[in-house]
Symmetry: C2
Subunit: 359 residues, 2 copies
């Protein structure tokens, strides 16, 4: 993708908060894409971004969209502004990469889907966790039969940020942040499960609130029903960070661990992960005589954020396919909404029921 002299795909950053800067740091010096312009409403903030990443600052979204030297946008505005920004981009023929979740309000999701489909733009949703080296290796081993038949998978994402929530924070509002940590944390693991096993059929869940100022759910345990495996998803906002995936197969089990405090340094994230395999090293007809062996799997580090934006750029140029499409992004949100509903209504919720509501 990085042939010398080749034209780079020209991108603009829209939404220049913390995450917009993290993303720009990951792709601004890419050989595949070029960060040409930026926009956010706050003039000082866009001037600083433009200077830091050597790009133009547009005075308005309309001005940015009117430029014919911009191919696509990297959108990191707040979730509830995704729909209007994507509609405007699609109307102007600009391709869109948008941060997860694609949206959580059913009306917003329908607007985005209509805009993307009617315009035919290239669309990608930011779910980079599946590009972590260890997650890729889990999938490779699964596909190659190296873990045998999978039976159970457990994916957990926790951090302590719920403990800091103040009254009025959007994360404390069940409408803006369904299921609390499900929308902010769990969705990363829901996409990993999608990558490994597809879309689950149904979801059950239990949740609880925390000793904090907001009423949203702070802890969720959910069970996801896949074709062949039972999955557990843990999303907890009241405890020091954990990001783990345990996959249990008939030949081996795999444990993936990530120190999420390295998440934003995407070139270094993989250096703070581990993948461990446990298998039966010495088999025997007598089960008591079997001996387990644990091995650390060596991983070749990647750059999950840069790779995602470069794939988006290459897809715009017709040289790649987007992996996390609108359909995948919508399925991920459907699982979040199904789990939040399962917790609230204390019943098993079919993912198809939610998908029908947001499609």
């Amino acid at each position: 993708m990085s042939e010398p002299g080749k034209e780079r795909v020209r991108l603009a950053a829209v939404g220049l908060g913390r995450w917009g800067r993290v993303m720009a740091a990951a792709y601004h010096n890419s050989d595949v894409v070029e960060l040409r312009a930026c926009f956010t409403r706050n003039p000082e903030r866009r001037a600083r971004f433009a200077e830091d990443f050597s790009c133009d600052a547009a005075a308005s979204l309309d001005e940015l969209l009117a430029r014919d030297d911009i191919d696509g946008l990297v959108v990191t505005v707040p979730n509830d502004q995704h729909a209007p920004v994507i509609e405007a981009a699609a109307a102007a023929g600009k391709h869109v990469y948008v941060e997860k979740p694609v949206a959580v309000e059913p009306a917003d999701i329908r607007r985005i889907a209509a805009a993307v489909r009617d315009s035919g733009i290239t669309f990608a949703c930011g779910h980079s966790a599946r590009r972590l080296a260890g997650v890729r290796e889990m999938r490779r081993r699964l596909d190659a039969g190296e873990v045998g038949s999978p039976s159970l998978v457990e994916a957990v994402f926790s951090n302590e940020r719920g403990l800091d929530l103040k009254e009025g924070d959007w994360r404390g509002d069940p409408a803006q942040c369904p299921g609390g940590p499900l929308t902010q944390l769990g969705i990363h693991q829901i996409d990993n499960l999608n990558y490994l096993f597809g879309v689950p059929r149904s979801v059950m869940g239990m949740g609880r609130r925390g000793p904090v100022a907001v009423t949203n759910t702070m802890v969720v345990g959910a069970l996801l029903e896949f074709e062949d495996v039972v999955a557990y998803l843990g999303a907890d906002w009241l405890t020091p960070g954990a990001f783990t995936i345990d996959l249990y197969g008939s030949k081996a089990r795999l444990r993936y661990e990530l120190d999420f405090s390295w998440w934003s340094n995407s070139a270094d994230t993989d250096d703070h992960t581990s993948l461990t395999e446990v298998s039966i090293a010495s088999d025997s007809a007598d089960p008591d005589a079997r001996v387990l062996a644990e091995k650390r799997v060596s991983l070749v580090p990647r750059d999950h954020l840069r790779e995602e934006v470069e794939e988006f750029g290459a897809a715009i140029g017709g040289e790649a396919e987007v992996e996390v499409t609108l359909d995948v992004a919508m399925a991920n949100v459907a699982v979040v909404l199904a789990a939040a509903r399962a917790v609230e209504q204390r019943r098993q919720v079919e993912v198809a029921e939610v998908l029908a509501e947001i499609s």
Copy 2:
């Protein structure tokens, strides 16, 4: 408990299969209890046991129960024979230690409960996992407030033994082994959860069968609702062994791991375990700047099986209280049965509903 010259409590082993021998190896040289006699139907097997552990072999259960130099029994007969053996022991005024599960058939549980309560014998059920050094230390830290407020706990027990099951094996029969690995594996973790958090209010679950010759459930994921925490229980019979407990608190999270292949060597089991604590080592108002630290907790090894039988002996002598009483044992079975029913009927099951049926 081991004052020199003190009379030891006199025990007899009933049921001399693999587990009866493991137990005897753990307590036969105790200062608190004395293994004085044994019985099983097979004459060669009881002769060999009597020789190996330097005790008498009784020709029948009645002969054993008629002896006035036996205070209590260590019962490790198959689960479905617990009720008649315990009834006979209670009628003869012999105290009973019985291997988990106390029983799984509601009628058997009621018979055992009536026999124990009517006779007033000392009764203990074998659930030794809670005596593992790391599990004790988890509880100590919880009680001392060292993990802060707990929000989530995950307990997993898996092994590959379901892959070996042949048609006709009792473990493959849902009536004798409800929920498959729930009865054989999950119950250990259910007792650990009982030790840490008490009896859950309700249970949800998902299960699946395996690519094996029996129709019983081979994998279960369950959610348990406690007063303050959400719990996940994984029980999987189709994968290399795992025995883990993850406890998530507001100040720290703890991970316990046990290599279960050392389970039967109870004096050495704790040497093959680890307890790890993750906490925020460097706090900051900026969540991105917080740094996690992982520490291995040092544990003082114990002997989970010996301790359990010695406690039983001391309780007979009036010098200790039994920790895993009939009520605890029945609550553990109620959770197994509730989880198996939740999986089968795809609904949330109240533990009180099952407890009412078996009481």
